[in-house]
């Protein structure tokens, strides 16, 4: 498997697995967080417009 001899070796990363994988996990979470942030932005705009519409401001 690529540079490593086995999948277990790949996960262990020569005893540095915990460091490497936690960094990549945090990065993936950050990306997910930003995706969620975009969804929230979208909700904010749509909610605001619907509120304006309900009140008859549009």
């Amino acid at each position: 498997m690529g540079y490593f001899d086995s999948f277990a070796d790949f996960v262990r990363m020569g005893n540095h697995g915990i460091f490497v994988w936690s960094v990549y996990a945090i990065t993936v979470l950050t990306i997910l967080g930003h995706w969620l942030g975009l969804r929230l932005q979208r909700r904010r705009v749509i909610n605001e417009l619907q509120r304006l519409k309900k009140r008859g401001h549009l």
């Binding site: 540079y3 790949f10 936690s22 904010r44 417009l49």
Partner: protein
């Protein structure tokens, strides 16, 4: 000056008008995200699975494919923000304010990511999570500056005031950052002549350098796409009372 530049000026104004930018930025955002996302995926697989081990640091060096791109992208983003702040303050372009506002959360997370990944990398390499080295300290202060921008923008209710105050802070912080970097460097060499350097960076072999460069290019694309997406929603929010936004979202009143 303004007179002789009239055609350019008019073009610039039209190009940065919110509806126009919203329209033309759409393919850019999608394209950059698609290219950047794919490239990032490839770079990570390459870096994690196929790149060889570092003879000094072992496998922990693989953190570099997150650490260096996020740090470099955060600096590039700050530079972009400073240029945009000048545009905002000098020419009062609405779009510039929206871009700055939406750069803040992205820059904040990039800086935090660079710091966190650096700290985790520091543990196996240096034996400690944190040292008060020039680069780390100035990065931490960049994080503080981003927090300050976010805080002042949320604290001021009035949109225009908040935008201006943030732009001024971006510029003041931008002047300050090199001074910090320089002063911390000076301060550190004073107490600690031999600073710990990240080895391998200068003597990097091609098999490691290639995925690193790819991950950097990919991160730049993803960050640019993210800022574009965020700016597009900011445009819709701020222009929500206009016809074109209501048409765009399909939410319309009766009359």
């Amino acid at each position: 000056m303004a007179l002789s530049l009239t055609p350019v000026w008019r073009w610039f104004h039209r190009w940065t008008s919110p509806p126009n930018f919203y329209r033309i930025s759409r393919p850019w955002a999608h394209g950059l995200m698609a290219v950047g996302g794919t490239a990032l995926f490839v770079a990570w697989i390459w870096g994690l699975v196929f790149a060889p081990e570092d003879y000094l640091q072992g496998n922990s060096y693989r953190i570099i494919f997150v650490h260096v791109p996020s740090a470099s992208a955060s600096l590039a983003l700050y530079l972009t923000m400073a240029i945009t702040a000048v545009i905002s303050l000098v020419w009062k372009i609405k779009l510039a304010d929206m871009v700055i506002r939406q750069c803040i959360p992205v820059g904040l997370t990039l800086t935090a990511l660079a710091l966190i990944s650096g700290a985790i990398w520091g543990r196996p390499t240096w034996g400690v999570y944190w040292i008060w080295d020039a680069r780390l300290t100035s990065m931490l202060l960049q994080l503080f500056l981003f927090i300050g921008m976010w805080a002042i923008h949320t604290a001021i209710d009035q949109q225009k005031l908040a935008d201006r105050a943030t732009a001024i802070l971006v510029l003041v912080g931008f002047v300050n950052l090199p001074i910090i970097k320089w002063s911390v460097d000076w301060w550190n060499t004073m107490h600690q002549p031999a600073t710990i350097r990240i080895t391998g960076e200068t003597t990097m072999v091609w098999e490691m350098l290639a995925p690193l460069l790819l991950s950097m290019a990919a991160t730049y694309c993803v960050v640019a796409a993210l800022v574009l997406y965020r700016t597009r929603w900011e445009i819709l929010y701020r222009e929500r009372k206009t016809r074109w936004v209501q048409d765009e979202l399909g939410i319309r009143g009766k009359a």
